[in-house]
Amino acid sequence: MDLLAQILVNGVLQGGLYAVMALGLALVWGVLNIVNLAHGAFIMLGGYASWYLYTYLHIDPFLGLPLTAVVMFALGYGIQRGLLNLVIRAPMFNTLLITFGLEVVLTYLAQLVFSADFRTINPPYAGSSLALGPLVLPVARMAAFAVAIILTVGMWLFLLHTRLGRAIRATAQNLVAARLYGVEPRHLYAMTFGLGIALAGMAGTLYGTVSQINPYIGASLTAKSFAISIIGGLENPLGVLVGGLFLGIVESLTTLYIGQTYADVASFGILVLVLIVRPGGLLGRTT
């Protein structure tokens, strides 16, 4: 029983992290109608950014989050403005393919620049944990989970209550109408993509504090983010949070009862099942 409780706690902590990973993907997908296959690669870049900040400048990964976010935002804004805006009206397959190409470019650039070695961001509190009755709560995972919840709820409030957030939601619903109300789509698209990439970067920081990063983690993280977006729907960050927690728990249970190697199979199985039964997402609108 204790073991099961511990596994569930692990799943929930991991799930919060998954939610932040998927948040940026869902945002970009919902507003720009681009399924960004390079999303995982941006998460990887964020992880390396924090690793370098910590290793060479001794900036704590959690304190360095805003810095990572700003750098990644600028990168995302530039990529959307200079590249993706050029193909945004092409058929979906073309935008899918170009982000696939970006993923390959980023992965191999990372391999050239950062080398293929595994890296972990190791702040002094990395190994410590709190005991709550029979449960063990690792400090770094707790902190990552807390940041994940703050980011998700913050994103939700931002989309609901700020001018930019409202413009983003309006664009997602109807580009032509939003344009008539003074939204400049080139700028707004770039802002949205930048925001998505900033979220990916911060997710990478959190990922780097709780597991290892290497240049090749991108593809599987993209697949997980995609599965979560499908489960949670694209409209609401809180739905993504539920999707993330769900996937985290399912993976933990799969690891416990079936085996470590099947964790990825589980998320894929859920993904295919959800796509077939409810293509609009478990929590999303049915179309």
Partner: protein, 315 residues
Amino acid sequence: MKMWKIGLVLAALAVLAGVPWYGSDVLIQFGINALLLAVLAQGWNIIGGYTGYASFGNSVFYGLGGYGVAIAMVQWQLPFAVGMGFGVVLAVVFAVLLGIPVLRLKGHYFAIATLALSQVMTAIVSNVGIAGQNIGLVLPPLNNDPLFYELSLGLLTIATLTIWGMTRSRFGFGLIAIRENEEGAAVMGVNTTLYKVMAFALSGIFSALAGGIHAYWVTFLDPASAFDISLNVKMIIMAVFGGPGTVLGPIVGALTLSTISEFLSSEVTSIAGLFFGLVIVVAVVLMPRGLADMLRRMRKMGWGYFIENIRAHRL
């Protein structure tokens, strides 16, 4: 097709077929790899190029074909040809079982549903005893590169002839109709589910045969190399670069990009990977309909062709 075009294709085929007689060992080995990649690109062309369902998981069929040969030859001591047949059966069963649910998804959902396939298969096969788990299987060696070369070339020829025949058949027109407008195709009486599953299976058959030849050639197979994810990158970009939905485009794409990548990787290995990524990005922006379309239209429009492509799709 005009007579001179047929002549040109036959001449190119003769030059390729003659490589084992006048080429070096290195050239033959490069040729086997390039030809097998061209088969994969042609296989992808059927489902991605003609039907419009971009599969990001076709390397699964390649892996199944390899395991078909490896299991038949190592575990059951059967001849190579039987193994190839077994691989094809595995691929078709997989294509039908997975295709019926997944091909109901609209284009891009399908693409992403297939994205994680090779990872999933790696995880599953690593636990299957008869497939050697994650240690892999060692096949009986056959030191005959010219034979493997001619087998690969033969397979590519059959795949290409099949596609050529397909484009002039009811089946091929049905696939193109599905790509252009699936509801419309259904209204016109195309059994879309049947056609899509058949296209997926046909695509799988050629990929599996390529995998079988490759497994016997390198005489070793483990889950990571069988379901190699980078193969998906390569086959898609080769088909798209050459011209998806054309008979010869994917072959031209495969042979061109294989040659360039071979020169690049002789300098620095990871540069070749970077190169493939850059080609995808540049091709999608400047020549989204591939080399074939570019060559045809650049004669009239010159450099304006690239500007026209950007203008058509930018915000």
